[in-house]
Structure formats: C-alpha cells, structure tokens
C-alpha cells in the first residue's frame, strides 16, 4: 500500500500530526515513524519518487508548528491506549469537553427553530454575519449591562477558537503577541500560522517573537508586568485555562494600565467567567479604561454544553482604535462579512434561550454541577499531599508534580489508572511539571477517577 495510505490512517478523526511528524527530505521521500512491522521497502521508495508534486511551496509558517494541535494529540493517545487495553474503562479528564445534557429550555428553543425552518413563516436563509439582533442584545444586557457595551459591539460567532483565528487575520502578520505561559494553545498556534512568529526554539520551548508571560504559583499566576517587553497584542485568559486562576480586579487594573502605557490591545478570553466563585471581575470591561485597550472573546461552550453546537461571541468596543485612529471593530466586521457567514441560526436560537431567566438558571445549575466535580478532584489531590491550584473559579485543576516531566506523568496516570489528563507542557514551557485535570464528566466517573488517583498515589 502506498505511503499516502499510511498518512490517511494517521489522520483519523480526532487525531492530527503527532509529536513526531513525518519527515520529508528534499527529494520528497516520506519517512514515517516506524511501526515495527516488516514493511515492504521495495514498494515504498519507487512510488514516492514518481509521485506527482505540485510546484506550490508549502507555507513555511505551517512548517514552524512543532506537532499537531494539543487536543487531537491527547485524543490520539487515548485511542492508542484503548487499543492496548480494550476492556479498560477509560475516564477522560483531558480535553475540556462538556458531558452533561443541555437543559431542555435550551434544546426546546433549538427544536422549535429547526422545525420552523421547514415552514414558510419560519424559514430564514442567510442571517446577519454579526449575529441575530435579539441574541446580540441579550448578550449585551446579560453580561455587559452597566459596562457601556452595546448590542452592536457584540459579534456572534461559532466559538472562541474560531474567533481567535479571525482576530489574527484582522491583525495580520506584522504584529507581536504576548501570551500567558502556560496558556490555551490556540493563541500561540494561530500566531505561528499567521506568520507573526519566528522559529521554535527547542532549548526554551518557545517561538521567537512571542512574549511569554510566566504565570506560576510564585507570582500568584499573574505575570510580573515590569519584566514583560511590549507586544502589540496581549492574550489574557481569565479565569485561566489551564491554571484555573482568576485575575483580581487589582491585577486586571494593572494589565489595563500596562496596555494603555504600551499602546497594546488586550484580547481578554472570558470563556470561563461564569465559573467564578468570588468577586473576581467577570469581564475586562469592569475595569475603567478597558474599552480603549481591550476586546473580549467568550463562548457558550462551557456554559451551556455547546461544545458541539458551536456558539460564542467577541466584543469590540467602538473606542478601540488602531494607531491611525481606525476602529478595530470595523476591520473585524469586514473579516466577519468576508471570511465567515454567521453562526448557525439554530445554535443562535439556543443561545437566546440560554439567556432567558430560565436558561440562565439552568446554565448555572450545570456549571454548579461541574464546580462540584472540581471540588471533588481538588480534595482528592489535596488529601494525597499534592500542591493543587485552580479549581475555584474554573473547571480545571492544576496539579504540581515538581521535578517531573508532565508528559511522563500524563503517561503514568493513563497507564496505571486509565484516566486521561492533559500534560502541562502542552500549554507552554511554564506548564512543565504540572498536569491539568478537567472537571467535566458524569459524577460517577469523577468519583471513580478520584478513587483511582487515591490508589495510585497513596
């Protein structure tokens, strides 16, 4: 069978190029990571030599990426583990995927809209690319009332991950990012793809031309801004994935000031805001002056279990201006109109129901459920003597394994307890020595996983 067949197998759903991507020499020979089976050498090489190649040069930015996106790699490892232990009851606390059913008040609205599409009165075609007005209005009034954010500052999308790339397209390749270290991998990866970065530096596990803002227990998971060089765009996720840290009002005020002093733009990722327990700000716009320096991206994924349904939003205040005074929102609008065609109308109907009084209550109940899961996991690792972070304001528990490689710990936990977690170094060099445990799961699976952790680490 040809080389290309092997490649197709390695690209099965939920997998991507893994840690050791196939290497390609200049003559186009493909060498894949060796599976120790007797491969017919005499067939592979001649086919590769005669295979037609276009003369289109591969985008060097894609070549800078070190491996597949983190979460498909976790999924691949999980699948490989299942192959090895087909009877194992694998529990997934890796990818932050919601597990509880969507409340009926929300699914009823989506059913209604779906049905309506089969009627003359209810059929709708293309919607406004920025989102349906009632939903934009509901988002503004639910999350941003009294913060001076208006309906037309809201851009509805198919999710924060997609918005992150669209924002990168707005900014282009000639800007520099700063990210927290550790951080959600899409910020760095999209920056590389967009051509904003230099090469990956293996010794420090960082891409050149990205400013990595270390967030660790030592600095209370807030960067020492006095040691950070200026970047054009600062990605800041709070409550944080993966550390679970929610920045205080004081910290965010510092961040806004830092952005103002440096003329930077903060992209505040507030996808987990509804998980906040205390009085940490839920939105960057709670900070005075933020509208001139920040935009905010958020999502229904972790609130309403919409990880598959696909709905999110980005807020860009009118006051946010490029250096020549041009409003950022206008360019984002152009991108939304040209590179996107609106979130699914059915998903938007669901989103609107989410923001009804009944919907909000139902979402808070599900969030409460996941927060209780988080408590159980925190208590478990606490009781085993680990230093545990996060878990109060986010559905993630950030467990410290000092001196150990996080991929090794990941592998050990997977091998010995059949529980999937996420190795901290997948989120950046600042994640080394940590493992992220997601709190999404059915209660019995969370309890079982914790039993197994107690077994392993007693």
């Amino acid at each position: 069978m040809s080389i290309t067949h092997n490649l197709a197998t390695s690209l099965s759903s939920s997998s991507s190029a893994f840690l050791a991507p196939p290497s390609f020499n200049s003559r186009g020979h493909v060498s894949l990571p060796v599976k120790s089976v007797g491969i017919c050498k005499c067939v592979a090489a001649p086919e590769a030599e005669t295979a037609y190649k276009t003369r289109v040069i591969r985008n060097p930015n894609m070549g800078k990426l070190q491996a597949g996106y983190l979460f498909p790699e976790i999924a691949r490892r999980r699948s490989a583990h299942l192959l090895k232990y087909p009877d194992a009851k694998v529990i997934s606390l890796g990818i932050g995927d919601t597990t509880e059913p969507i409340p009926e008040v929300i699914t009823d609205a989506m059913s209604k809209r779906s049905h309506a599409l089969s009627t003359f009165e209810g059929y709708s075609g293309y919607g406004a690319e920025q989102g349906e007005k009632p939903l934009r209005s509901a988002i503004a009034s639910t999350f941003y009332s009294d913060l001076g954010i208006e309906e037309d500052d809201i851009f509805v999308s198919d999710g924060a991950k997609c918005d992150i790339s669209r924002l990168q397209i707005v900014f282009g390749s000639n800007v520099k990012m700063a990210v927290q270290d550790p951080s959600y991998p899409a910020y760095v990866d999209s920056s590389v793809i967009m051509g904003q970065t230099g090469l990956y530096q293996k010794d420090v596990q960082k891409f050149a031309n990205i400013e990595y803002m270390r967030c660790s227990p030592e600095n209370g998971f807030f960067p020492d801004l006095s040691s950070i060089s200026r970047a054009d765009i600062i990605f800041f996720c709070s409550p944080n994935n993966p550390t679970g840290a929610a920045a205080t009002r004081e910290q965010l005020t510092q961040l806004v000031k830092f952005a103002k002093d440096n003329g930077s733009i903060v992209i505040h990722d507030s996808a987990y805001a509804m998980y906040i327990s205390g009085d940490s700000p839920r939105s960057i716009f709670e900070i005075p002056g933020a509208k001139e320096v920040a935009m905010e991206t958020s999502s229904f994924s972790k609130y309403a279990g919409f990880t598959g349904v696909r709905l999110g939003w980005t807020v860009i205040p009118k006051q946010l201006l490029f250096s020549d005074g041009f409003p950022v929102a206008r360019d984002f609008n152009r991108i939304v109109c040209t590179c996107f065609n609106g979130a699914s109308n059915i998903s938007q109907a669901g989103g609107l129901a989410c923001l009804s009084p009944e919907g909000l209550k139902a979402m808070r109940d599900v969030i409460g459920f996941y927060k209780e899961n988080t408590n159980i996991i925190v208590e478990t690792f606490d009781s085993l003597g680990f230093k545990v972070y996060g878990g109060k304001d986010a559905p993630y528990v950030w467990v410290h394994f000092p001196g150990r490689s996080s991929w090794d710990v990941f592998a050990e936990i997977l091998e010995k307890t059949h529980v999937v977690t996420t190795p901290g170094s997948g989120f950046g060099p600042g994640g080394e020595g940590f493992v992220r445990v997601s709190a999404f799961g059915h209660r019995e699976n969370i309890l079982e996983a914790c039993r197994r952790f107690k077994q392993l680490y007693k």
Partner: protein
C-alpha cells in the same frame, strides 16, 4: 452610496473610503481619545470597499427608506427562500432532543466532521471518483473554507481567478497579503491573475494568455455567469495546472444545478486528484444558508513541492482555527443525503430552476442577451455599453427589484447584471412582469 473600485466613479460616491481617522483631528467623524500603538493591518487597507453583498443590502435599505411602500423584490444576494424538507428538519429536531438526554448528548465532534456525514458525502457526490471519507473535511460553509485555505497557503503566492468571480476569492487573497497593490486604472490587484470569462470565449479563459500562479480558483457552475464548464474545458484546466505545478481550488457549490452533462466535480477529470482541491456547500444545495454546512475535499495525492501532503496541513488548520461544524447542522446534512432527502432537495432545485427559466424568458423577450439560468440559479444579463451600477440603479428605481451589478464580481463583469433565481414563485412571476415593462433602450 456604494463605490465599486471596479467601476469608474460615476453616480456613486465612496462610502467605505471614509475620511482618514486621526486621534488629533477634531471632527465629528473621529473619535477623540486613546489610540493604541497597534498598526492597522496594511492588507485590510488594500480592500477597496465593503464586501459586495452587505453593500447590496445597504442599497436595499436605502431604497426602502425612500420608497417605504414599495414591494421590493430581492433578486440580489443569492439567498435561498424555500423551507427545508421536513425529513431534514425532523432529523435535526430529533438530534437536538437527543442533546437534552444523557444517552444522546454529544460534546466536541471531530474537527473534520462526523464520520457518517463524511462517508455520506463521498457516496452522494463522489461515487466512483475514488474520493475517500478521510479526504472530506466538513465545515460551516464554503466562504469560511476559502479563507481557511488562504490561511493554509499563506501570503507568498499568487492566485488566478475567473473574471468575473465570487468576490470572496479576491477579498480573501487581499486580506492574507497575496494580492499586492490595487491598480485603479485596471480595477485589478497587481498580483492577481484575472482570467477573463466572457461569451466570446464560451465563458472559459484563454489559458494560453494566463501567467502561472500557484493557486487557481475555478467556480463551476459559475457564480455569477451561470456557465458550467464542459468536460473538455476542465481537462484543459487540469492539464494547465499540471504543466504549471499549480493547485486548482474548484468551487462546486452549484453542482447540483447542472442540467446537462457538464461535470459536477473536478475529480471527474483524470489527474485532478493530484492538482485540485474541491470546495462545496449545503447552502444552495439544501437551503442551508443560515444553518451553515459545507465541505472541502483534499485528496491524499495533492502534494506541495517538497512532497508534503496538503491534506496534512489543512487538517492542522481545521484543528487549530476551527472547531467543527455545528453537530445539529451535520445531523441535518446527513438527512439531506438520505434517498428521501435527496429527492426532496431535487424538488427545491427544480423549483429554483423553473424560476430561472421564467426570468430568462422575461429578459430575452426584452431583446436582451441573457446567459446562465440553465446550470445555475443565476441569470447573467448583458447591457453592452452601460455601467452595471447605473443599470442596477435604474432597475431598482423603475421596478423595485434588487439585482447585483456585474462589476461587483470583477472588471470582467462590467456591463452585466446578475439576477438570482431564488425566491417565491409569485415574486418571480411579479418580477418577470415588472421587468417586461422596463423600457430598455440600447445605449449608442
């Protein structure tokens, strides 16, 4: 009023070309306050005006303001109007209900799409063409895929487009940084190769006159001209791509509208697997313009110059810059591709094509030269010697019908008007009547 860079400044004044913003200028157009030090992306500045279709909508709104009692008929933006078949919506209703149950709940799906849907797409559209489910990437629509493909390919290459063509190819090329400067005189971007497609060459470019580019966007059946390339034409195109080492991005969003034996997929042409990507959509096929579902095929054999498979990088883009099409839309898509779904969808397509036939008849009876309307839901009407924005305005003023001026699709569209055949039958009948009373006079 709308200004198109492809037309000379005429009746219409620039609107998006606003006064330069400045933090120090004290005018009502400008915000006083903090400017960041983030430079605006120069590529965004190269865009000449707003995206075409929102601009048409603005025209419609302005017209409605001036004529609040007019019964405006929208044959502009190609938006489907007929309700979805109940077999499709009931499968989405069932799926949605499942999401509220423990057994039926689904979270993140594979970024490439649900296995069953990928398989159904290969069976429905690529039977006997050797396309595998693993080569099909489900998306939230072709317009989104076009940008993702540009992101994949990067800024350091050139595209060729048909002229006229769907504006997203050019606009995305500008945004990514491939297109170079806009040349006012020609109404073209310096680094884009415009392949004129006009009646004189049977709406297929004279490939002997086309410079090599890395990517070639080719849309067939074509938006806006309605022309479906013949097998012979596509063989030439594949050969041209092969000789030049180029990649064709073949947009087959209207393939289901083909009524003759024109190819419905580029992969009907031998050798296409090694040179072509195909993008398609459920939008015009199944009325999913608001539901959002499409797909892109990237064959395994499609390789970059260093032998690296394009599919591998596209997969990385889909996993990093996207998170899958809505699971509900995918459930609907699967129902579309069931035997009953396909039958129901065919009736919708037939309905729109009957609309097209009526419009073609009405316009032909005026003595106009009319193209398209046979293999696509678009009618491409020639107004030789006229500026298409002027004709657009005249039609709107006299008949309250929204169309799309041809120059919005490129300089090759000047002198033409695109009329969509989407609409309720009675609107189409009404529109046909109104058009017949349009006294068109030949420009001398």
């Amino acid at each position: 009023m709308y200004h198109s860079a492809f037309c000379s400044v005429d009746v219409f004044q620039p609107r998006m070309l606003a006064a330069r913003f400045s933090c120090t200028l004290n005018t009502h157009n400008v915000r006083i306050g903090h400017c960041t030090k983030v430079p605006r992306n120069v590529n965004m500045q190269k865009l000449q005006h707003g995206y075409l279709f929102p601009e048409i909508e603005k025209q419609e709104l302005m017209h409605l303001k001036m004529h609040p009692h007019a019964n405006v008929i929208d044959l502009g933006v190609g938006d489907t109007t007929q309700p979805l078949p109940t077999i499709v919506t009931s499968s989405m209703v069932d799926f949605v209900h499942g999401l509220s149950t423990t057994a039926g709940y689904k979270g993140y799906g594979p970024e490439q799409g649900e296995k069953a849907l990928r398989k159904a797409i290969t069976v429905a559209f690529y039977k006997d063409l050797g396309i595998k489910p693993s080569e099909v990437f489900v998306s939230d629509g072709a317009q989104c895929d076009i940008t993702r493909l540009q992101l994949l390919m990067g800024p350091n290459l050139k595209i060729a487009v048909q002229d006229p063509s769907f504006p997203a190819y050019i606009d995305s090329s500008v945004i990514i940084g491939q297109a170079g400067k806009f040349v006012d005189q020609a109404g073209k971007y310096k680094n884009i190769e415009y392949m004129t497609c006009g009646p004189q060459s049977n709406f297929f470019p004279d490939l002997t006159n086309i410079s090599r580019t890395e990517l070639i966007f080719f849309n067939s059946p074509n938006n806006p001209t309605g022309h479906a390339a013949t097998r012979k034409q596509l063989e030439q195109l594949v050969d041209f791509a092969r000789v030049n080492g180029s990649i064709i991005i073949f947009d087959s969003a209207y393939a289901a509208y083909v009524t003759d034996d024109s190819p419905k997929s580029i992969y009907e042409i031998p050798g296409a697997r090694e040179v072509a990507i195909e993008v398609s959509s459920f939008s015009k096929f199944a009325g999913f313009t608001g539901v959002r579902l499409g797909w892109t095929v990237v064959p395994e054999e499609l390789l970059y110059s260093d032998g690296f498979p394009v599919m591998h990088d596209f997969n990385r883009i889909m996993c990093t810059c996207f998170n899958g099409a809505s699971s509900i839309a995918q459930a609907g898509g699967l129902a579309c591709l069931s035997p009953e779904g396909l039958r129901a969808i065919q009736s919708l397509i037939d309905y729109y094509m009957e609309n097209a036939r009526m419009l073609v008849d009405a316009l032909t009876s005026l003595g106009l030269t009319v193209y398209g309307g046979k293999n696509a839901p678009y009618v491409w009407v020639h107004f030789p010697g006229s500026k298409s924005w002027n004709v657009f305005a005249e039609i709107l003023e006299k008949t309250h019908i929204i169309t799309v001026p041809g120059c919005g699709f490129g300089p090759g569209g000047e002198g033409y008007i695109r009329i969509s055949a989407f609409g309720q039958r009675d609107s189409i009948i009404e529109a046909s009547q109104r058009l017949k009373y349009l006294n068109y006079q030949e420009q001398n």
